[in-house]
């Protein structure tokens, strides 16, 4: 009796404390961080495993410590960095020649030369190097230095977006060359040509960078740039509010609370989509009528408003509607009535429990999402509920990739992806039929000969108009035979202190690394 009453009292006390906290958390915060405007501290959710470009660090450019031959500006146009100019493309798109910038030095004072470029690319392509992204450089047949200031890439096949790959950071041969590439200390003590130098990397706590005074692009005004590694969203928000951080990446619900607190919220547009794979090997999802019905039966706007709290856009395909690669006329209109008509016409008749049937096959399929990923879970549940309304059942299940991968040929998966720099990077591995089942490429085993041909044209043709036409074909084919139901493109939200002025964001990919967000160009901030 007494033990029980004590336990009850304990529970009451906990509940009371909980209420106190939750009401307190919604109270407006006070004061931003003081301190010199020559330093900035931002909170990020992700910590790189390594800082070695040879193992994949900064492969999409903008690594702060390193430079690539080329780099992206705000609207993702390529600009020369370690190269003196954009590459000369010859031999029908098979040879790329880069003239290198002169007088560039690594932050240890040693000069940067063509040998470092050759070393970087050759090391990554080496079989013994454990770089999981090396497939992105698959097109390269050879890299050669011509003198100290010219590098020539020869490709196996004409590859139009190749220049986009050369934003890859260049490592110094004299430091990284003498040690084991997979385990050497270069991964924790990197030296590059970039605007910042690494001062300290306390794993799990913070990465401290200091301006490189000899940077070829001019010494940055923000002299010290610290990235605090805080995995938990609530903790990051709390530390931002306490003034410990000047900026942070936050989910929409937490970012909302910072309105009008001396901080600005930036929504970075992204190519980061969430999609449902509809595997060809499944009798239900492989049926074109079912695919087309599902494509117009999902209420994408409701997902943007409800799940993303407005921080995103509806996805009509892999390409966001405001991209220049988007094909007008491929917007899907939410129309469950028409979806039902498509299914009726194709012979999918409602069964006893409301789920349709055709030739003894029930219109039901499993839909997997990565367990622990709240965003994917919400998307999957919304998708299942919309499908249910037209008599199709998606059984939502959670699992890790180890559980999901072997089921991909027959079960639907709530997947994510998207790469802004070139449509080829994302669409080729997603849709090519000969890549079906190759690792995580073409997870839905999509098989469409017209799409295959268009992807090949888009990849090989150096002509912009011809490429645009090819990707138009792909997007139109995805309306006729949608092997994936694209749902939303997600905005990434960042909150930054006002004293840094008005900042900008880049269009971001699915896998946004260290230097995404308003601090993508921290070296150019003018505090």
């Amino acid at each position: 009796m007494r033990a029980r009453s004590i336990r009850v009292r304990g529970a009451l006390a906990t509940a009371a404390a909980l209420t106190a906290v939750s009401s307190a958390c919604s109270a407006p915060g006070e004061g931003g961080g003081e301190g010199a405007a020559t330093s900035a501290v931002v909170g990020i959710a992700y910590e790189p495993e390594t800082l070695s470009p040879l193992l994949g660090f900064g492969k999409d450019g903008n690594s702060k410590i390193f430079d690539g031959l080329l780099t992206h500006d705000a609207d993702l146009t390529l600009r020369p960095a370690l190269a003196a100019a954009l590459p000369k493309v010859t031999d029908g798109g098979r040879t790329y020649t880069y003239a290198l910038r002169e007088g560039v030095k690594f932050s240890d004072g040693k000069p940067f030369t063509s040998a470092d470029v050759v070393f970087t690319y050759e090391t990554i392509l080496d079989k013994g190097t454990s770089n999981p992204s090396k497939g992105e450089l698959d097109a390269i047949r050879s890299v050669e230095a011509e003198g100290d200031d010219t590098v020539v890439f020869r490709l196996k096949y004409p590859y139009a977006p190749f220049a986009e790959r050369t934003v890859l950071p260049i490592a110094p041969e004299h430091l990284a060359g003498g040690q084991d590439v997979n385990t050497g200390s270069f991964g924790t003590k990197p030296v590059g040509t970039g605007p910042y130098k690494l001062v300290k990397w306390s794993k799990g706590e913070q990465l401290v960078l200091e301006a490189n005074p000899g940077y070829w692009g001019g010494a940055p005004k923000i002299e010290r740039f610290t990235m605090a590694i805080i995995k938990d969203d609530d903790v990051r928000a709390t530390r931002l509010r306490s003034g410990d951080l000047d900026g942070a990446i936050l989910p929409p619900n937490l970012a909302k609370a910072f309105k009008g607190s001396g901080r600005r919220t930036y929504a970075a547009r992204s190519f980061d989509y969430r999609t449902v794979t509809l595997p060809t090997g499944n009798k239900v999802t492989g049926d074109t009528a079912v695919r087309r019905a599902l494509d117009i039966a999902v209420d994408r706007q409701a997902m943007v408003d409800g799940i993303l709290e407005g921080a995103g856009r509806v996805a009509h395909g892999p390409v966001p509607t405001d991209s220049e690669w988007f094909t007008e006329g491929t917007r899907r209109t939410y129309d469950p009535k028409k979806a039902r008509a498509i299914l009726d016409e194709a012979g999918w008749r409602p069964g006893k429990d409301g789920i349709r049937e055709k030739d003894g096959v029930r219109a039901s399929f499993p839909l997997w999402y990565l367990s622990g990923d709240k965003l994917r879970q919400d998307h999957a549940l919304a998708y299942a509920s919309d499908a249910r309304k037209i008599g199709v059942e998606a059984e939502v299940q959670a699992g890790t990739w180890e559980v999901i991968e072997p089921r991909m040929p027959e079960d639907a998966v709530l997947a994510g992806g998207g790469s802004p720099s070139d449509p080829d990077f994302d669409q080729y591995p997603l849709l090519r039929s000969d890549l079906a089942g190759d690792g995580f490429n073409n997870m839905g085993w999509y098989d469409n000969a017209r799409v295959d041909r268009a992807l090949e044209t888009g990849r090989e043709s150096g002509d912009r108009a011809e490429r645009k036409a090819a990707y138009d074909t792909v997007q139109r084919e995805l309306v006729k035979n949608p092997g994936y139901t694209f749902l939303t493109h997600i905005d990434h939200l960042y909150v930054v202190d006002d004293r840094f002025g008005d900042l900008s964001t880049q269009v971001e990919p699915h896998d946004h690394g260290l230097a995404a967000g308003p601090w993508w160009n921290v070296e150019d901030w003018q505090p």
Binding site: A24, P132, T183, S202, R241, D244, G439
Partner: protein, 321 residues
């Protein structure tokens, strides 16, 4: 005493050997794939050829027993191997972090033992009195409160509302030198939370132990002889009431390790916790095995410590058991 310690040390060798093999076997049987874990998000767009190359480079395509034996023989020679998840030699991974974890855990443990003992005795003095009720309710509440939630709570209170203590990290954010003063200030909240999460057990054990001892004949005898209440409590009741608590010290070590793991994550404390989780989900054999050996060692040491203290506190027990 030395004989007991020596015997335990000998006994530890086969235990550690068996534990490492167990870890390799469990990790091999787990659905986690070291290659997928290594590749991370890049692996979600990698081709099969790349994945196969990684598998060969990481050496995870060899059979379980071979890998274990290779690891064991080189570990005995002092080479702990290389962590695939963190792309660093295991010795570096542990060397960089374990000190901070030990600091956090021992500070918390000390506070929990001392504070728990104090509150427990206070509560046991008058069972059912208001001190007892307050302390016991507090203990149950804390037992029910998850450490990460406590972490957020104290962070909100001390870092946000009162602004007296830093919310996380080992040093001030942006600072590159580690000074004792800064570390001490940053240690208060994480160690406090970890201590609070360990506190209920000690409070309740001491309360029970001392409460029981107060009912025993020697205490009654002492009281009958007219000894001061203070002498009765500290001289008679506390000494025999503390015995179960000593056992607890040994058995709380695993809990302390898991608790530290949560607390480190919440407070961005650069300890071994994050590496432990990563090594497990990444099936990173060398790191996982080394960490398990460390944890097993801590547990064995905790048990040994408990037994030694027990022997010291209660002469009837001796050191042969």
């Amino acid at each position: 005493m030395a004989r007991l310690a020596g015997r335990r040390a000998l006994f530890a060798v086969p235990v550690l050997g068996a534990v490492t093999f167990g870890v390799f076997a469990i990790a091999a049987a787990s659905p986690f794939d070291p290659v997928k874990a290594y590749a991370g998000t890049a692996g979600l767009s990698a081709s099969q050829e790349t994945l196969d190359q990684l598998r060969a480079n990481l050496g995870t395509d060899r059979p379980l027993v071979t890998r274990w034996w290779d690891w064991l023989t080189s570990a005995v020679r002092g080479d702990l191997g290389v962590s695939s998840a963190l792309r660093q030699p295991v010795a570096d991974v542990i060397g960089e972090r374990v000190g901070w974890s030990v600091l956090l855990a021992s500070a918390a443990f000390l506070v929990a033992v001392l504070l728990g003992g104090l509150l427990g005795v206070l509560a046991a003095r008058r069972p059912g009195g208001w001190t007892d009720r307050a302390v016991t309710s507090l203990a149950y509440t804390l037992e029910a409160a998850p450490p990460f939630w406590l972490g957020l709570l104290v962070m909100w209170l001390f870092a946000l509302r009162l602004g007296v203590l830093p919310a996380g990290g080992l040093t001030d954010t942006g600072s590159t030198v580690v000074t004792a003063g800064e570390v001490a200030r940053h240690l208060v909240l994480p160690a406090g939370v970890l201590a609070l999460s360990q506190l209920p057990w000690f409070v309740l054990y001491v309360r029970q132990g001392v409460g029981d001892a107060l009912q025993e004949d020697p205490v009654r005898g002492a009281r009958a002889r007219g000894l001061a209440e203070r002498t009765v409590l500290t001289g008679h009741a506390l000494r025999s009431g503390m015995l179960p608590v000593l056992t607890l010290i040994g058995s709380r070590v695993p809990e302390l390790i898991t608790g530290a793991l949560l607390v480190e994550t919440v407070f961005s404390w650069p300890g071994i916790a994050a590496a432990t989780v990563e090594s497990a989900t990444a099936a990173d054999f060398p790191l996982l095995a080394a960490l398990t050996v460390l944890a097993t060692f801590a547990v064995l040491l905790g048990n040994l410590l408990a037994d030694l203290l027990y022997g010291l506190a209660d002469p009837r027990v001796g050191f042969d058991g």
